[in-house]
Symmetry: C2
Subunit: 120 residues, 2 copies
């Protein structure tokens, strides 16, 4: 199973949000002053080996894009997370998420509607 590391996840987020990017675009978007350009380059090359991304090499600056879907990866991470951190207790995760985070009225309504749908 594909399991991106934390750094790989950050890069994937950029690719998911912005679509295909060059290394430099990713580097600048992440804006991590503590890490050099070639570090990001290397990471993305490794991600290519692992087939998490593909690239278009027709131009001098290669264009990378994610080959794995955001939803799929989020789903897998969430399952693992609930297992290891919440011991499988999804309700607790949800309540704690609701608790930590100051939800707006709109968000609460949205989630309620979602729950109503589930109840049918």
């Amino acid at each position: 199973m594909i399991k991106p590391t934390e750094s790989e996840m950050e890069i994937l987020q950029v690719l998911w949000n912005k679509g295909p990017c060059t290394v430099r675009e990713v580097y600048e978007t992440l804006d991590k002053k503590d890490v050099g350009y070639t570090t990001i380059l290397k990471l993305m090359q490794i991600m290519l080996e692992k087939r998490m991304v593909s690239r278009d090499t027709s131009a001098k600056s290669h264009l990378y894009k994610a080959t794995i879907g955001k939803e799929k990866i989020q789903h897998e991470f969430l399952d693992r997370f609930i297992e290891t951190v919440y011991n499988g207790n999804t309700s607790r995760l949800i309540m704690q998420a609701l608790g930590n985070h100051k939800a707006s009225k709109e968000e609460i309504e949205l989630i309620k509607q979602y729950l109503d749908n589930l109840q049918e």
Copy 2:
């Protein structure tokens, strides 16, 4: 900040659920056939160094207990998780959690009540 690794988290889960345990109890509870006893022992000794656990050495088999609270650690992990995996979008996490997991009527009711409380 204390940031347990994935393996450390599994051990902490056991200690949180069962209370103070010996290495063997943890080892048997985890029931990972692919990992030896001394591996778990070593991990727990490292956790002791990191002060994630304390131990009572009065008997031959030492009794370990978690020194860090479940809620605190879950909270920290959740924040980081929402950031790296959901890009800060808590509502999406909640909905995906609700979607993946077949919630019982009771759970849904519980969450709804929780939302009602939040709305005041």
